[in-house]
Subunit: 308 residues, 2 copies
């Protein structure tokens, strides 16, 4: 009897660590467990060590999903990670146990999970865009993650959608796609729209200080058919479309998977039609992600098994 | 004695067909020959057949470089090719002879050649941008060409660098990078600048109708230190920079190779410094292409040998 290899997939989030045992096909073979993310790097290391110890006899490898850029050896997180503690970059995850430990960026893990068992299953080239507070991305093509020279590829939130220094991004640079088309981008569209659009004068938010209008105000305003909110939202969707068309022409994906907190507000069929009308490459399918908060854990586990 | 395999590399250009025998490492083992590109598809087919016949006994495979998008089987050109005749898309190149014939897009062939023996040699992820009348591109990463779902990837000229329908491109869409940063883009910058920049009033071109200012006028004006030409040129370089920064953040290349008719006007060291200051990923080297008009022939030959 052949032994089907199993990985412990661990997703290290800013608030919780989530883990479970996963096979090569992305099937979760155990309960999914959660524990709060400790406040120091030393405690995170110990927590991971204990989780691995607890599952040690049932697994062949360990896959870790983490925020931040990962080195080419897949053993460390090398970029800054605002939601994880100081010293996190010093952790060499390969020392956690004597079995193989494979670390990958969370957006990359997510696209692997979606390509394996989610919305991207069966497609050749899956582009994932995660639309939350910022915008993250990943590309899985021809059975392989696109990582670039140092594992930093797919910083799609930094795609510039204007070339005249029009709007400053929270990163300090100008005109990043995520400053227009993320959750934060929707708020930016609203605050700018309040100063420019005639509809603001009769909006349910007309008495608000433009700076106090939130992302939630707009999605709620759209549900209430507030004309100002609808116009702001349409502008936001247009910015989303502009970035997705550029990425379609660059990667020629046959499937775009949209995930993140904002994805439920997007009409993917309409977005798909618009992209296919505008892009110069072959048609793409646009879908909503299916693996949700299991994505990091499952993708990391699959990658660990594939690279063993 | 082992037989080192050899390919006949053929570059099908709009005006001439160029060919030679090439080995797996990109060494050209024969004279490079040229013949004018015939005016009909049937004649192109016959010309290719004769070229192959002439070299048949000395080669193992045939590699073809062509304008246009190529199918996933690498046997046909499937997109429109303005400089090649009607019916070109109907040619099944695999029927040219009983040895393997492998077709690839010319920009993709060029990045393979640069990565093998040119400016990108020794780098992990090479992004090539060809700046001519339009802008083309290719990415070769971790020993592999990035092709996308249908071989159309890297339509980088279509990257949108504005999101407010500001300038119509020759393709009929708006705000394509190539309408700002190609040779045509430089002319567009000049014609717009003539209406906006104070420097035009004292320029050596002040008596010209703005619509008659050419790409050459500006590069010549820069050489003559004409202030208007210098300002137009700086704006053009900035648009070039905006696209290259976005592509750097998306692909995380360790080398960008710039080729095409406009590349000689670009200060690559300055461009490299500016990109590395602005991008969010690890540093990149910017270089000028070295294989020039042999690129298509050599790249196609290497690809044919690799895929045999």
């Amino acid at each position: 009897m052949t032994h089907l290899k199993k990985a412990l997939g661990i997703d290290i989030g800013g608030t919780k660590i989530c883990y479970g045992i996963v096979d090569r096909n992305g099937n979760v073979l155990s309960d999914i467990k959660k524990t709060p993310t400790p406040k120091t790097s030393a405690e995170i290391y110990d927590t991971l060590k204990n989780i691995i110890q607890e599952n040690y006899s049932n697994i062949d490898v360990v896959g870790l999903s983490s925020a931040g850029a990962v080195n080419l050896d897949n053993t460390r997180v090398v970029s800054s990670t605002p939601n994880l503690p100081h010293g996190y970059n010093n952790i060499d995850f390969s020392t956690l146990c004597d079995k193989k430990v494979y670390v990958e960026n969370d957006a990359n893990c997510a696209v692997v999970a979606e390509a394996a068992i989610g919305a991207g299953k069966g497609y050749h080239t899956v582009l994932m865009a995660t639309i939350g507070t910022g915008i993250g991305g990943g590309v899985y093509s021809d059975g392989k993650l696109f990582r670039g020279a140092q594992g930093n590829a797919l910083e799609v939130g930094s795609l510039k959608i204007f070339a005249d220094k029009r709007q400053k991004c929270t990163c300090g640079r100008y005109d990043c796609w995520e400053s227009y088309a993320s959750g934060t981008g929707l708020k930016n569209c609203a605050q700018k729209g309040a100063l420019e659009y005639e509809e603001f004068k009769t909006s349910i938010y007309k008495d608000k200080n433009p700076e106090d209008i939130t992302t939630y105000d707009i999605t709620d305003g759209v549900a209430k058919k507030d004309a100002f909110s609808v116009r702001v939202f349409e502008q936001w969707l247009y910015y989303m479309f502009i970035g997705l068309v550029s990425l379609t022409d660059i990667f020629n994906p046959d499937c775009i998977v949209i995930s993140g907190g904002m994805c439920k507000f997007i009409d993917v069929q309409k977005m798909e039609d618009n992209i296919n009308k505008e892009s110069v490459v072959t048609d793409v399918k646009v879908k909503i992600a299916q693996t949700e908060n299991r994505a990091g854990m499952i993708g990391a586990a699959i990658l660990a098994l594939v690279h063993t």
